[in-house]
């Protein structure tokens, strides 16, 4: 699809030094074609090559002579066009004509000669009496094309009229068509006030091309061009003529999401009349396309409600979505399944405001209906029935309950769908999945714990943090329970962090979150229950548990905030409130936080700044100016930093709207505010790959005087580019070699952020050298970034993962390593195995929508540079990698499906064994280890010799393990003859499906359950083909029992035979040792 990947080359006109220019060259200039005499600056772009079709029509008159010339060329060829040019000067018009026709066919060879006398050809074109002006125009156009004057070439090509052949396959025709399209699109996209006069000839050419594409069946090209040129009539035509309607529509949706959003079309105009779109300026092209699509969808015989609702979400039409959902849940069982699926898909995009609206409309709809029903039945007896409409939602449902079983089902479905939309269902299911599939490796933690020095509080709290991340969302707190005494060494802010870590572990445990944290929470009246640090930490933990779903906890947090005067507790409460009320812009909460801010206490003020930002995410409200003003007033750097990040959060996703504020911040005297400006740029243009933003960031990265600003500017690139992770390593590769360690650090994190969870090879290659940088904090950043990139990638998939794990272990065990990089390594081990090895970092949802919580989470996470407790924000970016099939009761039935790849490729990493742990303890005594090594080598040699004698053929080595440095113990290999690894694997619902695995997922045709929508991950509603049979359910609400403080949580070492035992995992491999 050449169309999508296309984007305007960055403008390079400004003078920021060659280096920046090089950095900005996102697209390598296509190599000049060898055969063409074209100057290199006008490479005939091959990108359009597929667009204008090389239709095999009979060549036109002009071309016929060209053809003849080529045929004769083998024999004799003129050496110069001089004779023809001379003939052009002849007075007789026949001679001129002959000369022109000949020139037209020879222009590709002699354009350089003709160019000197192109003026005479031009004058021929301008000569009104000359009857072949079009031919003259064509020749002139070709000459200008070869000279690289595309504008002139185009204007003469337009003059050539019908002689300019759109189906021509030459470089000339293709380049000019591309140029014509660009021109046309540029004129079409001009805003209302500007000059929009359209050359009718240009329009004619573009239309000819569009029609031709449609005629030739090149629908995708036609659609792409139509979108770019804002010709929705053609778009509709292309879609409706396309034989593969569904393919065309999904392609079109992709186009509108990926390509159109690049073009900064704003979604300002919300209402639009479809009938007169012709007459309106097309700056809401995306809306138009989507509306166009919705129209086509709705007219199609079996509408694809999933896609319609996705479109409608972008159009922000909750009413329509609600009515569709309402229609579906009133229908058959299958329809209800479809409704649930739609709701899950919508909920995944985390657009809280929209989802809330849909829920409200659903309520209104159903109450209106049951109201109408009850009025029909009770009209005579209950004349006051109409007043209850909208007043009491439960009442109509309540009456319906007694009336009709159909209505009972409807009410039941309504509750379910509302729960799905509110996100509760998915949170709960996710929690159950993460709990039951937790495969975190406690040995790693144990190793870290033993290696870390007692007095080193940085590493101590990093270990606690690492544990929290490893068990994020799993509710498994075994490690903490087993090491309570060790845990107790955390004092002051470490205590704060340790308590907050519980929030990460229990993330999403909405029902019991508060009960879990109760021992640490501030008690009204009761003094001395705990230190303010653990109280504050507990409030922060509550926020983390309820992040973005804080309806139930907001009030409690507010209460706590108001009732305390301790700045540590205030700190925790502000962060907690911000998280729980993420993006709600609640006025009252805002007032409370502001009061804390105005106490001008450094500790509380910092959190208040961030908290306000979280509360106001993406609102671009007036509050930002207020915050900026206070940032200028206050003396405390901490508060300024908190506020500047907060301001940055408010402009999330606002793109150009935020430009004034960004300008204000980036021009400020105070480096901390400029630093905030970098974040504002990052968040406002998150995932847009906007050239202007990239340009600005690169400029600051190399020109600002403050290291902090430079570091942040580079880091911010990661946010701007996360929709195109392949680009980032290339753009920051030079910066990663900078002399300035801050810039290197930023480059590492930028790659980590934008390539998170991709395992991208280029990203790993870029980070690898940085992990052994000379500066300790660069190593720290690189280790963390590497872990983010490699999350969920295992060794058979990329052998460098194994090397990285070993490197982490080495750094942690090394006594002489700097604290900074040690801390990085500890955190990296946590991130690498985050969420019980069942989550990844995902900044975009499946429907390419930005995941607000995740982006915000990562942005605040990067603040750990200044404030370690903020590390926990990374948990917001985690998203479970699971395929969870659900039946119509939203329960998880037993169901199998196929992963069409070698199991080892996507398996959990093998658990570390006790042996490596003990071996690593022995490492310091160098003599012993060499001795042991030598001994083992000798032993192995002897063994292999013996074996060779015994059996002639050596045991075949497995292909995957051969590439790694592992070596299977000879004895074990003899016992267990290595079987060839199967090429597929049956997975049982719910299963871990990591992103790289998604393309291998197949659903079995003969299964009892059929998916409503064949998606390879996330929540999938299953249609039960044998509804009468009893269902076997898995995933009961296990975590709630485990949550009870007395129930022992399963330790990771027994996970293989764990309570759920739903996975038929292969047995752990025999013992092995590292030989490297």
């Amino acid at each position: 699809m050449p169309y999508i990947s296309r984007r305007p080359p960055p403008s390079l006109s400004t003078l920021d030094g060659k280096r920046i220019r090089d950095l900005l060259l996102l697209q390598a200039s296509p190599a000049a074609k060898a055969h063409a005499p074209t100057p290199p600056e006008i490479p005939p772009p091959p990108r359009r090559a597929r667009r204008g079709a090389p239709g095999k029509e009979p060549p036109k008159a002009a071309d016929r002579s060209a053809l003849a010339a080529h045929m004769a060329a083998a024999a004799v060829m003129v050496s110069s066009a001089g004779s023809l040019l001379a003939m052009l000067q002849e007075p007789a018009p026949e001679l001129k004509l002959h000369a022109l026709a000949s020139l037209n066919s020879l222009v590709h060879a002699f354009w350089h000669e003709i160019s000197t006398s192109v003026s005479s050809i031009e004058s021929l074109y301008e000569d009104e009496e000359f009857d072949q002006r079009q031919l003259a125009a064509l020749v002139a156009s070709k000459v200008f094309f070869y000279l690289g004057e595309l504008n002139d070439a185009l204007s003469y090509a337009l003059g050539a009229g019908a002689l300019f052949d759109v189906s021509d396959d030459s470089d000339y025709a293709q380049t000019l068509l591309a140029k014509a399209l660009d021109e046309y699109a540029a004129i079409q996209s001009r805003a209302a006030g500007e000059d929009k006069t359209m050359d009718p000839r240009l329009e004619a050419i573009v239309e000819r091309m569009l029609d031709k594409c449609i005629r030739d069946g090149k629908y995708q090209q036609a659609m792409g061009m139509a979108v770019e040129c804002r010709r929705l009539d053609k778009l509709e035509g292309a879609i409706s003529q396309c034989d593969n309607l569904h393919g065309a529509l999904s392609y079109c949706i992709n186009l509108s999401h990926q390509y159109v959003s690049h073009r900064e079309y704003r979604l300002e105009v919300r209402t639009f009349n479809l009938d007169d779109w012709d007459y309106k300026p097309c700056h809401t092209i995306q809306l138009l396309i989507l509306q166009c699509l919705v129209k086509i969808y709705q007219t199609s015989p079996n509408p694809d409600y999933l896609s319609i609702c996705q479109c409608l979400m972008f159009l922000d039409e909750p009413e329509t979505v609600a009515s569709i959902l309402d229609k579906l849940i009133s229908g058959s069982n299958d329809d209800a399944l479809l409704a649930y699926q739609t709701a899950f898909d919508l909920a995944e995009n985390e657009n809280q405001a929209f989802l809330l609206n849909v829920r409200n409309h659903l309520d209104a709809l159903s109450s209106a209906r049951s109201d109408a029903d009850s009025r029909a039945t009770n009209a005579a007896t209950e004349p006051s029935g109409d007043v209850q409409m909208g007043d009491d939602v439960n009442m109509p449902n309540g009456t319906a309950l007694t009336v009709d079983p159909v209505k009972v089902a409807h009410a039941d479905r309504l509750t379910k769908i509302k729960n799905i939309l509110s996100g509760e269902t998915s949170i709960q299911l996710t929690l159950q999945f993460l709990y039951s599939h937790n495969r975190s490796d406690l040995l790693i933690l144990k190793t870290i714990k033993q290696a870390v020095e007692m007095r080193n509080s940085v590493c101590h709290s990093a270990t606690i943090c690492s544990n929290a991340i490893m068990h994020a969302g799993t509710t498994v707190d075994t490690f903490l329970r087993e090491n309570l005494e060790w845990l107790g060494r955390a004092t002051n802010w470490s205590k704060f962090s340790a308590t907050a870590g519980l929030g990460v572990i229990h993330r999403g445990h909405l029902q019991q979150g508060r009960a879990l944290m109760a021992p640490y929470l501030p008690q009204n009246g009761a003094v001395g229950s705990a230190s303010p640090y653990s109280e504050g930490g507990a409030l922060y933990a509550l926020g983390l548990i309820h992040a973005n779903h804080g309806e139930g906890i907001k009030e409690f947090l507010r209460e706590s905030l108001r009732n305390t005067s301790s700045e540590v507790v205030q700190h925790g409460a502000c962060l907690g409130l911000g998280l729980a009320a993420l993006g709600t812009a609640d006025e009252e909460i805002c007032e409370d936080i502001k009061n804390v801010l105005y106490t001008d206490s450094a500790v509380a003020g910092e959190a208040a700044g961030i908290g306000m930002g979280l509360l106001m995410v993406g609102t671009a409200s007036e509050k930002a100016t207020e915050m900026l003003a206070y940032a200028h007033d206050t003396q405390h750097e901490k508060i300024i930093r908190g506020l500047s990040l907060g301001i940055a959060l408010t402009v999330y996703g606002r793109e150009e709207e935020a430009d004034t504020l960004i300008e204000q911040m980036t021009r400020d005297q105070d480096p901390i505010l400029r630093y905030g400006g970098m974040y504002a740029l990052a968040l406002a243009y998150r995932g847009t790959a906007n050239n202007k933003a990239i340009h600005q960031l690169l400029h600051f990265a190399v020109s600002d005087v403050s290291d902090d600003v430079r570091r942040t500017a580079v880091l911010a690139l990661g946010f701007v580019l996360y929709n195109e992770p392949e680009q980032t390593p290339r753009i920051v590769s030079l910066l990663s070699e900078s002399y300035n360690p801050h810039v290197r650090y930023g480059a590492a994190l930028a790659v980590g952020i934008s390539c998170a969870g991709t395992g991208l090879s280029e990203a790993i290659s870029l980070l690898e050298p940085l992990t052994s940088d000379v500066v300790d904090f660069v190593r720290q950043g690189a280790l963390i970034a590497m872990a983010m990139v490699m999350i969920q990638i295992n060794e058979p998939y990329d052998s460098r993962v194994g090397a990285f794990r070993r490197k982490l272990e080495k750094i942690i065990l090394d006594k002489h390593e700097d604290t900074m990089s040690k801390m990085g390594a500890i955190l990296a081990s946590g991130i690498l195995d985050a969420g019980g090895r069942n989550v990844t970092i995902k900044l975009k949802s499946k429907s390419k929508h930005d995941r607000l919580t995740a982006v915000i989470g990562l942005a605040v996470f990067t603040q750990f540079w200044y404030w370690y407790p903020l590390t926990y924000f990374i948990s917001l970016a985690f998203s479970p990698t699971a395929l969870i099939g659900l039946n119509s009761d939203l329960k998880v039935p037993k169901f199998e499906f196929l992963s069409n790849a070698k199991p080892s490729l996507f398996d959990y990493p093998k658990p570390t064994t006790q042996q490596t742990a003990t071996a690593s303890v022995k490492v310091p005594t160098a003599i012993l280890s060499t001795y042991a090594k030598a001994k083992s080598r000798a032993k192995k040699d002897a063994e292999s010799k013996a074996k060779e004698k015994a059996e002639v053929a050596p045991p075949p080595s497995e292909d995957t393990s051969a590439s790694t440095s592992m070596q299977v113990d000879g004895a074990a290999a003899e016992k267990k003859a290595p079987e060839p690894e199967p090429q597929f694997q049956l997975l049982t619902n719910p299963a871990r499906v990591i992103p790289a695995q998604e393309k291998f997922i197949k659903f079995l045709d003969d299964s009892r359950y059929q998916p409503v929508k064949t998606v390879p991950s996330g929540f999938v509603l299953l249609r039960d083909l044998k509804p009468t049979e009893a269902e076997e359910l898995v995933l009961t609400d296990a975590p709630s029992t485990a949550a009870g403080t007395n129930a022992p949580a399963p330790s990771a070492s027994e996970q293989g035979s764990g309570a759920m035992a739903v996975d038929e995992e292969p047995q752990p491999p025999p013992a092995f040792e590292y030989t490297s």
């Binding site: 003078l15 920021d16 030094g17 060659k18 280096r19 920046i20 002579s65 003849a68 010339a69 004769a72 024999a75 004799v76 060829m77 003129v78 050496s79 110069s80 066009a81 001089g82 004779s83 023809l84 040019l85 001379a86 003939m87 000067q89 002849e90 007075p91 007789a92 026949e94 001679l95 002959h98 000949s102 066919s105 020879l106 990265a701 190399v702 020109s703 030079l734 910066l735 900078s738 002399y739 300035n740 810039v743």
Partner: protein, 267 residues
């Protein structure tokens, strides 16, 4: 024989007849008809199609254009000469191997060289010369032109002027006459550079004019910027001192500063 070819051949015969009886007007009309007819042959340049009559057609066309060149000399029309010669050239350059070389080739090439010399287009003269094979330089027509050019460059104008007597071909006379004027222009140009002023008699002698009047006429036509006063010709006005070129200091300073700034920014 192809009827079209016959037709053209007949037309060409009529042209030659008219040419022989020196009816130049008839020649011009016939010639333009001939040229139009020639465009209908695909075997001619630039197409060079392999038709059965290609050789005859090419020969005929070459003959026609050779006559056209000679005719233009006779008409003393330099533009037409250039046009016709350019159209004739592919027949000399690109048809080797198809038709035998023409006996008129070197005289006409020499004529063209002479024309370039007359028009003082020395660069093109040498380009043309380079295109010729080495043995062609021995041909008297070419040799004549080359020698003329050498004398011309040396400044041996007397040799140039005396060469008129030794023309290798009668058509050359026209250009030799024109050459005298070219020489005069050269001399005028040199004098302008060499002297501040010249007395009228010296100027007359130098520019090879027999009377003062001719000199006056020449000056008013060709060099109106010259001034005649006190019995002398003053070239001063033409040599108004050109403004001394300024050193672009500001630009250089800016450039250096921007280099320094960019060096700072290297990351």
């Amino acid at each position: 024989m192809d009827p079209k070819l016959t037709e053209v051949a007949q037309l060409f015969a009529r042209f030659k007849a008219a040419y022989a009886r020196n009816d130049l007007d008839a020649c011009v009309t016939l010639l333009s008809q001939l040229k139009v007819q020639l465009t209908k042959f695909p075997s001619l340049p630039p197409l060079f199609q392999q038709t059965p009559n290609a050789v005859e057609e090419l020969k005929l066309a070459r003959d026609i254009y050779e006559h056209a060149v000679v005719l233009s000399v006779k008409l003393e029309d330099q533009d037409a000469f250039e046009r016709d010669f350019c159209q004739l050239k592919p027949y000399y350059m690109d048809t080797c191997g198809i038709i035998p070389p023409s006996p008129e080739e070197y005289p006409i090439l020499g004529l063209n060289l002479l024309r370039l010399l007359v028009q003082n287009r020395i660069a093109e003269f040498h380009t043309e010369l380079e295109l010729l094979p080495v043995k062609a330089l021995d041909h008297p027509c070419i040799k004549h032109a080359v020698e003329l050019e050498q004398s011309f460059m040396e400044g041996a104008y007397n040799r140039v002027l005396s060469a008129r007597q030794a023309v290798p071909h009668e058509t050359y006379v026209y250009f030799m006459d024109l050459l005298a004027k070219t020489v005069r222009d050269e001399i005028a140009g040199c004098s302008e550079k060499g002297y501040d002023s010249l007395s009228i008699s010296d100027a007359k002698q130098m520019l090879m004019f027999s009377s003062d009047q001719e000199l006056h006429q020449y000056i008013t036509e060709e060099h109106p910027e010259w001034e005649i006063k006190n019995g002398s010709v003053f070239f001063q006005k033409a040599k108004e001192s050109q403004p001394c070129k300024e050193i672009p200091s500001l630009q250089l300073i800016n450039q250096t500063l921007s280099y320094a700034r960019e060096l700072e920014r290297i990351v």
